[in-house]
């Protein structure tokens, strides 16, 4: 625990001026239980899906962390005031402080895992959905996650333009040169190659895959699979 002790001393010395009054302490409940709720949420979501951001539980866990911290500080202060050597003393205050420290760490890891796993799903949205997220997904995001998606998409866009090759199309190996498509919105007369096609809503066409792709990626057409 020597690394721990060094930290305590530094922490205590630096925070000495602002140590808050000792809280009444936690009610009788297991530490870390709320944090594991967040993890359960991640675990029970289907792959590639996001539940709405649970700001209630998230904020509660943050509050718990700060409570652990103030409990921890007051225990250390108590030991220092009793002129005990923090590095070597092993009394109930030492162990109490250790528990608060470790609980804080556990909460931190859970919070980070929650954000990080959600961020991974958000990354996948750029590839699966596109640069603009539909409203029902946006609703589930924390404001920082919305910013993250925007910045991350911009980074991908920057790479794509540097390389001059679009990586967001061609996601599935090509099977046929021609595919059957169903038009989703009225596009009108389009000239493809040496003939023109009238792309009206709900019409079926047999087009070259490369011609159809630009419409499919914009959501104006979809591949008609039987």
């Amino acid at each position: 625990m020597t690394g721990l002790s060094a930290f305590w001393i530094e922490h205590f010395v630096l925070c000495r001026s602002g140590i808050p009054k000792c809280h009444r302490g936690f009610r009788r409940r297991m530490y870390g239980r709320r944090a594991s709720q967040l993890l359960k949420e991640i675990d029970s979501s289907e792959a590639g899906q996001l539940a709405p951001f649970n700001s209630d539980v998230f904020d509660q866990v943050i509050r718990e962390c700060n409570e652990h911290n103030s409990q921890f500080q007051s225990l250390i202060r108590k030991m220092v005031e009793q002129n005990l050597d923090i590095e070597t003393t092993r009394n109930e205050d030492h162990y109490g402080a250790a528990i608060h420290h470790l609980s804080l760490l556990r909460n931190k890891r859970c919070l980070m895992a929650y954000m990080y796993n959600r961020a991974e799903v958000i990354q996948s949205f750029r590839w699966k959905v596109g640069p603009v997220l539909p409203h029902d997904i946006q609703e589930k995001l924390h404001f920082s996650e919305k910013e993250y998606f925007k910045n991350h998409s911009a980074a991908i866009k920057s790479y794509i333009s540097e390389m001059d090759i679009d990586l967001t199309v061609d996601m599935v190996p090509p099977k046929d040169t021609y595919i059957q498509v169903r038009v989703l919105e009225d596009i009108g007369e389009v000239s493809l190659g040496d003939h023109s096609v009238s792309l009206t809503k709900n019409s079926l066409h047999f087009l070259r895959r490369t011609d159809a792709e630009q419409f499919i990626s914009q959501g104006l057409m979809e591949e008609f699979l039987e």
């Binding site: 962390c65 931190k108 919070l111 590839w127 090759i165 190659g193």
Partner: protein, 214 residues
């Protein structure tokens, strides 16, 4: 159009596409990011351009539809391989952005553009985590890579699992090969045989091109 020229260029193109296919398969199966094959990618891009120009010529000169669609298919397949290869790598960088940014060895495996992407990714992720979580935690617990000030090393960076099992095929005789550090497990690797091994043990062989992942 001389048919000899066609055959030669077709043969050369097949070799590069075969190489790209191999690089793509290895990248798909390996848990960590492999070395970027810059010359191969440049050559493939040139050939793609050549194919596109040939197709344009065909459109103008009214070549038989069947021939056109064969060339088009070839182009589509090559384009897909290239895009998928680059995409796989980008997605690995996305996933292990902090781990890659801290390792000079891993950074050296990336192309210049990938390196810039990796740097942006890491910065964006850090900013997001700081904004949403770390800024609200007490002093001493607010590092992105360490649990707290008392951590002796960066203990919060996700890393790929290098000891995953992978299917692989030897290209030539390797002979007796040591699988682990202590020298207890030794396997005799014969040419053209299929094996299921831990990626970590054969990492060096994959880099040297003596074994392919499937």
């Amino acid at each position: 159009m001389s048919s000899w020229d066609d055959d030669d260029s077709a043969a050369a193109a097949a070799t590069d596409v075969e190489l790209l296919k191999r690089a793509w398969r290895n990248e798909k199966a390996a848990p960590e990011i492999l070395r970027f094959d810059s010359p191969l990618v440049s050559r493939v891009r040139e050939q793609i351009q050549l194919l596109e120009e040939t197709l344009d010529d065909f459109a103008d000169s009214g070549v038989d539809d069947l021939v056109v669609s064969l060339y088009q298919m070839d182009l589509d397949r090559t384009l897909f391989l290239l895009r998928s290869y680059l995409r796989l790598r980008l997605q690995k960088i996305e996933k292990y952005t902090m781990h890659i940014s801290r390792s000079d060895d891993l950074l050296s495996r990336l192309s210049q553009q990938e390196r810039r992407f990796a740097k942006s990714c890491a910065e964006i992720m850090e900013k997001h985590l700081e904004q949403s979580v770390l800024s609200k935690l007490p002093y001493g617990y607010d590092s992105v890579t360490r649990q707290s000030l008392s951590s002796t090393e960066d203990d919060m960076v996700p890393e790929p699992q290098l000891d995953t099992f992978v299917f692989c095929k030897t290209k030539s005789d390797v002979g007796a090969f040591q699988l682990d550090d202590i020298g207890e497990e030794v396997v005799d690797l014969v040419a053209d045989d299929l094996y299921v091994l831990r990626y970590k043990s054969i990492k060096g062989l994959v880099e040297g091109g003596r074994i392919d992942l499937i």
